[in-house]
């Protein structure tokens, strides 16, 4: 193999598993260290710069970083990355943060951008562009900003104050928000001579079971999950029947059933077509629902709404079992048993959402594909009408907040380039730094000791009280002492092992000390053969191997990045400092420099 090019910004980026997996590439280990040091403001700002909503995401993020966390490959559970983020948000000094957030720019740049929707995607675009002097007009049909974060995510998971605070930071930077304003024509918006328009209108339509028998007759007590959650959030709906059936296996179903429990549902059940293990909902959401005495009945396919005397009395389901073909595709096969009846007073249909753009004219240069989705450039988020950009759920279908944020950053860059008359395809390179952590012969400026502690659990509020109050937050967050212990579990994957060929005397000291047998000195070969011939074969192909140039003996150093603990022992035991521990900081370049941490 050719020597690894560690200068390529993505090489070490990939080693920071969590950051790499985060759609916005939040520098996770960096903020975790700051939390361990009690520097909550700094930890908050590192997050704010990357993911815009640390307090919100610290409670609600889908956390793609956690399954990626290296810790999960050497012990049972990953670091509680998401809940540590919340610790930064909970313990920061609000007034100090307010001072660090850029204020309204004194000078405008003369460009105007309209943003449709005030969800996380639009808010991110607005935040990134505001410091550059853009005149930003945000329109949303809702009465306050936040999009689905406000209308869909229940308050017991995300308190309103947290949402208000973080939305407020952005609105305080200068954008003008027009709430209670539904945009019914993109064409007329474009006619108002905006330099660019950002569409962050989300995926607002909940799927229905229109053709299921009884749907029409039972309509009064059959609700579309997301519409119902929205109407609860805005306090149009305050109660529900005692017996509730929730259809669906995703996070929306989990929010529906838990909300129903708080609105008077004593007997709330989730019925899902797929097997329990295949459900889309995050494992922790399922756990929380079960903890609130909500049974999840799997392998049940809705057959009909049962109506008696013109009133919904329950639902009938067919039982199925999952069979998987050789390609792993799932088939739900009827078991042949009799249909099962479940009585209920109300049904919440939470079986997915769709995009819908009834307000976008089809003759204004925006091409839609056969699924009704806008045709976009995947990198720039620019539509076929070059003045229009999409992001968040509106771009490629429903995802989550952090994805909407990541889209927002990129769309902001595109809009800025476009407004300056440059090509949006000329993407700025990420900012990278690599700095030695050496403090003394065997001393590092990071805590290289690897802690054995198992993942700490976040304490929950008393169940009885939570079920009485829709707004009472269930998760209480880590206290600072626990947060410190949890932070210490982080392996500091951003502190990289950097090897210099010319210094190595091939003494094997690093090979012998490495607790996880990452390092081998062997004859060079092609990647496949090389991976097999390591001290322990590098079988995890998602992880790179780091190959040096030829050493004195003609061999090469090969390091499997897979389960390196970043403990620094290789560098401590190396007599010639051929290994060094260097902190790699990767920052996604934003449209504007926002803050210095």
């Amino acid at each position: 193999m050719k020597p690894t090019n560690i200068k390529h910004p993505e090489y070490f980026h990939k080693v920071v598993d969590c950051q790499y997996a985060c759609p916005a590439h939040t520098p996770v280990p960096e903020y975790i260290r700051l939390i361990a040091q009690g520097r909550y403001d700094d930890a908050y700002m590192v997050n704010w710069e990357s993911n815009v909503f640390p307090g919100i995401l610290g409670r609600t993020c889908d956390r793609p970083c956690e399954p990626a966390c290296r810790r999960g490959r050497v012990e049972e559970e990953p670091v509680a990355i998401c809940r540590l983020k919340r610790v930064a948000a909970d313990n920061k000094v609000k007034d100090d943060i307010a001072k660090r957030i850029p204020s309204k720019p004194a000078k405008k740049n003369g460009k105007r951008v309209a943003l449709v929707g005030a969800g996380p995607a639009s808010l991110t675009v607005a935040r990134d562009l505001a410091p550059l002097g853009y005149e930003l007009h945000i329109f949303d049909a809702q009465k306050a900003g936040g999009g689905f974060m406000r209308s869909q995510i229940p308050s017991f998971r995300l308190p309103e104050e947290v949402l208000d605070e973080e939305v407020g930071y952005i609105l305080g930077m200068g954008p003008v928000a027009r709430f209670d304003t539904y945009i019914d024509s993109l064409q007329s918006l474009l006619e108002q001579n905006y330099d660019a328009v950002f569409v962050g209108s989300g995926a607002p339509r909940g799927r229905d079971l229109k053709n299921l028998p009884g749907r029409q007759e039972g309509a009064e007590h059959i609700h579309i999950g997301i519409d119902w959650l929205g109407s609860v959030a805005f306090e149009h709906t305050k109660s529900i029947g005692k017996k509730v059936i929730v259809l669906g296996g995703g996070n929306t179903a989990m929010d529906c059933c838990r909300t129903a429990r708080r609105l008077g549902g004593d007997d709330v059940k989730v019925l899902v077509r797929s097997p329990f293990a295949d459900m889309k909902a995050s494992p922790w959401e399922k756990e929380d629902a079960i903890h609130e005495d909500i049974p999840i009945v799997d392998n049940h396919v809705p057959k009909e709404f049962v109506i008696e005397d013109g009133k919904l009395v329950g639902m009938r389901f067919d039982k199925v079992r999952a069979e998987y073909d050789s390609a792993g595709r799932r088939n739900l096969v009827p078991t042949g048993e009799d249909p099962v009846f479940f009585p209920c007073d109300d049904v919440l249909v939470a079986i997915g959402q769709e995009n819908s753009f009834p307000w976008i004219e089809r003759d204004i240069g925006i091409v839609f594909d056969k699924w009704g989705m806008p045709v976009l450039d995947k990198e720039t988020f620019q539509a076929t009408n070059p003045r229009v950009f999409f992001g968040g759920d509106a771009a490629f279908g429903p995802e989550n907040i952090i994805t909407a944020v990541a889209h927002g950053h990129q769309a902001a860059i595109s809009i800025d380039l476009f407004c300056r008359g440059e090509k949006p395809s000329r993407r700025p390179a990420p900012g990278v730094t690599l700095v030695s952590q050496k403090m003394g012969i065997h001393e590092w400026s990071y805590d290289n000791q690897v802690d054995d502690d198992l993942r700490y659990k976040v304490p929950h509020a008393d169940k009885k009280l939570s079920l009485l109050d829709r707004k009472l937050e269930v998760e209480l967050g880590f206290d600072v002492a626990t947060a410190f212990r949890e932070a210490e579990r982080c392996l500091n994957c951003d502190v990289q092992t950097v090897f210099s060929d010319s210094r190595c005397i091939e003494c094997d000291a690093c090979v012998d000390i490495c607790p996880t047998d990452c390092i081998s000195f062997i004859e060079n070969a092609e990647e496949e053969a090389l991976r097999k011939s390591l001290k322990i074969p590098a079988n995890n192909l998602t992880q790179d191997i780091y190959v040096s140039g030829a050493l004195k003996t003609g061999r090469v150093m090969v390091k499997d990045e897979d389960v390196c603990l970043h403990c620094g022992l290789c560098a401590e035991r190396c007599p010639t400092s051929a290994w060094d521990m260097q902190k790699f900081l990767y920052e996604v370049t934003k449209a504007a420099p926002l803050c210095n941490v």
Binding site: V450, I505, C507, D517, K552
Partner: protein
């Protein structure tokens, strides 16, 4: 400075037949200089005992004084250990072995410990064919006392101090061969592919197994003029041939790798496979081994690998006709047969 090694190990590392993890054979974190060859030898011992699936509590590690003699702290932390007096490892090992013949004895010594102050003890333990593994971690200097030339330093070799050594070196392998060792090998700390099977065979060998391991002192004797440095050892290493160790448990199949010359069955049923020997070299010929060592030395090369083995000679216990149980397993009446037995012995001597 880290004093604790992280506890996590590679998740794909399997336990051995006894269910022990390799970690169960580790010791505390080394305090030797970073890059010391001795640490690699410790790693090779850990690997060997793990692969041989020796219960850690059935091993006794005995050493003298020196950086090398400190190393038993850094491997087999669950085994018994005795860090004795300078040059006196052999007598302590002899005593322990006589008291409990069932244990595995690993003696660790240095070139100073064995070739200077302990030369007499080295000679006698070799002669007695005590059942043990005797490893000399040979760096050509007294590392612990800051790098004075030792008795194994080659003529002209210079350590960090820069003064070439004027004295003829002692070749411990040659001495061991002359004194009747039944297993003699030489290796290099930087070549685990060779060292690990050699250690495994030496541990399985019944009788006195001696291995001289070139183990660079990175701090005091890793200069360009040193013949015990990493670079010199790598450039001047020659091997008698490749060796494989096949434990008893593993079924011995007939298909050998190419280059196979012959196999030697050890007392416990395990087998040593030898490949592509130095032309005409016979690991069963003591005199030839001595001659070949000499010839390589003259060429300025270091001959490594298995130099000599005789698996069938009687060990110290057999020569002495000792009781075949460890003393701790004997009952009070056997250990103290009473005044009538003493009377009988005494009358024999009258």
């Amino acid at each position: 400075m880290s004093y604790i090694r992280p506890n996590f190990r590679h998740p794909e590392l399997q336990a051995n037949e006894l269910g022990y993890a390799r970690k169960d054979y580790e010791g505390s974190l080394s305090t030797l200089c970073a890059g010391c060859g001795h640490d690699s030898i410790s790693a090779a011992i850990i690997q060997s005992c793990f692969e041989l699936a020796i219960p850690p509590h059935s091993v006794a590690k005995i050493s003298g004084i020196g950086c090398s003699s400190k190393t038993p702290t850094y491997f087999l932390g669950k085994s018994h250990g005795f860090n004795s007096v300078h040059g006196r490892m052999p007598s302590v090992a002899t005593g322990a072995n006589l008291a409990n013949r069932d244990m595995v004895y690993i003696g660790v010594s240095g070139d100073g410990d064995s070739a200077s102050i302990g030369l007499g003890q080295f000679a006698h333990v070799t002669r007695r064919n005590l059942n043990m593994l005797y490893i000399v971690e040979n760096n050509g200097c007294y590392g612990l006392t800051k790098g004075q030339d030792s008795a194994t330093a080659d003529v002209g070799s210079a350590s960090k101090k820069g003064v070439p050594n004027p004295y003829e070196p002692i070749d411990l392998c040659t001495m061991a061969l002359q004194l009747g060792a039944t297993f003699v090998g030489r290796s290099f700390s930087g070549d685990k592919n060779q060292l690990v099977p050699l250690i495994k065979a030496a541990i399985s060998h019944r009788g006195f197994a001696f291995i001289d391991v070139i183990s660079p002192c990175v701090t005091f004797n890793n200069t360009v003029q040193s013949t015990k440095g990493y670079e010199y050892a790598r450039e001047h290493m020659a091997a008698t041939g490749k060796m494989d160790f096949v434990p008893v448990r593993q079924e011995i199949t007939a298909d050998y790798e190419p280059g196979f010359t012959h196999e030697i069955t050890l007392h416990d049923g395990s087998v040593v496979h030898l490949y592509k020997q130095e032309p005409g070299f016979d690991a069963n010929d003591r005199n030839q081994a001595i001659r070949t060592l000499q010839a390589y030395k003259q060429k300025g090369e270091i001959l490594t690998g298995l130099l000599y083995i005789d698996p069938d000679l009687e060990d110290f216990h057999e020569i002495q006709g000792t009781v075949n149980k460890p003393l701790r397993d004997l009952g009070a009446t056997e250990l103290c047969p009473g005044s009538r037995s003493l009377e009988a012995i005494n009358s024999n001597l009258r």
